[in-house]
Symmetry: C2
Subunit: 308 residues, 2 copies
């Protein structure tokens, strides 16, 4: 039988890649022939973490049925965020911490989702349930994933379980969580050398809402103004992306990781759904959202609700 491929979502963040590596290692320890792959290149933040723990970035794929029939998903379940041929593959298992949507299988499977801040927190539990401990480098990339997903525990998605898991993993990985964490997050905020197209695609996901397709991208920064200095260029790129990919609405969430606030840039229609969702008025396509840092917990649910 061909290898079972393990992967996270398109436009992978540190959890999508870290959870794939960690879950694949766990499967190998249990005797399964698996390989962690990624549905896109590692971001600078993820690459920083991989380098720090001496790990190699997973091979990039966009489809899987040319090399295997069996796959395992981490950090996502929605088919539009997965490999393009996901409907032709047998999904053996899912480990995730998102809502369930646009997902279905023909056969029973192993599905483990918990409402915690990071997939890697659940994967540490799976190691423990199997009576195993992740190796030092694996613990390091899992820790990096938790720091990334919870913005160093500041996101409202962060739970006590994430904090406890991070502490435990930091000990195995022999790093100081706070100093390593801030260094890693800052490695991901270097936006100046990136084109608007690249910036909009770094951490972006599509969501069906009502009968519309909504694209929501997020970038982290230590200076909101630096990003909005490029507003014209960003708007043009968002319009182009909407046209080329049939997105109805493009929402860019620019998050200040030091202040834990975000500002939205919104292009497309129905933009009034954004105003309704967050009880704001868009001004020059922009709106400031105090205390909002989580796409999953603070943006997708109210926006989905406003479409209903």
């Amino acid at each position: 039988m061909a290898k079972v491929l393990v992967f996270g979502h398109q436009n992978p963040d540190t959890d999508a890649i870290g959870a794939a590596i960690a879950f694949s290692e766990l499967q190998k320890q249990k005797g399964q022939d698996t390989e962690a792959v990624a549905l896109g290149e590692a971001s600078e933040e993820t690459q920083f973490a991989l380098d720090y723990f001496d790990l190699t970035a997973p091979r990039v794929i966009t489809k899987a049925s040319n090399e295997t029939s069996d796959v395992m998903l981490v950090d996502h379940n929605e088919f539009q965020q997965s490999v393009t041929d996901i409907e032709n593959l047998k999904i053996l298992s899912v480990v995730d911490h998102h809502r369930v949507a646009n997902f279905n299988t023909t056969d029973p499977l192993y599905y483990r989702a918990e409402p915690v801040g990071c997939t890697s927190t659940i994967i540490l539990k799976l190691y423990k349930e199997a009576g195993l401990t992740p190796a030092k480098a694996i613990a390091g990339i899992m820790l990096s994933a938790i720091i990334s997903d919870t913005l160093l525990f500041k996101s409202p998605t962060c739970t006590q379980e994430d904090i406890d898991a991070a502490k435990e993993l930091a000990e195995i990985a022999s790093v100081d969580v706070d100093s390593y964490g801030l260094e890693m997050l800052k490695a991901g905020t270097n936006l100046s050398d990136k084109s608007a197209d690249v910036l909009l695609d770094m951490d972006a996901k599509s969501f069906p809402m009502g009968d519309k397709t909504v694209r929501i991208a997020q970038v982290n920064t230590v200076d909101l103004q630096e990003v909005f200095d490029r507003q014209d260029e960003l708007e043009k790129a968002m319009k182009k992306a909407n046209n080329e990919n049939n997105y109805d609405l493009f929402v860019l969430l620019v998050t200040n990781i030091l202040d834990s606030d975000s500002e939205l840039l919104v292009i497309g229609e129905p933009s009034e759904m954004v105003e309704k969702a967050f009880d704001v008025k868009l001004n020059n396509h922009r709106a400031f959202l105090k205390g909002v840092v989580s796409r999953k917990k603070q943006v997708v649910p109210p926006l989905t609700a406003s479409f209903q």
Copy 2:
């Protein structure tokens, strides 16, 4: 806050009711205010098990939003098998052993599915992970659910985990698995005093396949002939059910629990999908399926595939 309601699927079998009781008890032990309810009356098999372990049948509901906002699902996930107002409720958790289909949420949730023979097998794991043990009567109804879903370990859905869980539960419940199990299963095969309508509705589920709706009912017997003596009456009732509920195809799976074989009775179109799925010719609307006892593992997947 109103009580969280915990329930299994419509037309509840012993697992749908047993898993709801057991999972609700676990939540209570963890400090949650929950109540196990059922989406239909207990079958004779289930009632036998409830009586044996001195438990009361859960209250029957068909919708939940009139009394609570939060629910927990066991032994199902597909919305068409749930309360009629499932889309208006917040699903806190799912524990299941079926395929995932026609299921979606706005928010992250706890979702635990494993490809084992019975939900109650997974629930025993959850007790253990919480460092808890089910009480004697709870262990008894969980054991009954495993016996029911695996037809006393003869179904191909049965895994080693189900067998191990049943042994463990039998010890807590102080019963002999084989003699108790056969007695319980036989209690569910008393079909002669039931109308065709009742018989077709005892353990029936609807499945969207292609653009059709397929109804699949299963009845257990110790004598296939006894059921097919009533073929005319069953066919009439199936035609009526198709008309009244817009089912395209009605498949009745009559299972001999002693021989572990089944015979199909098929009414509606496209009936050639049944022939294609099982590589059989329907004769007088009937086809014998040697070794087939599991709707979930041996009927739904090939039938779904034939529609694709």
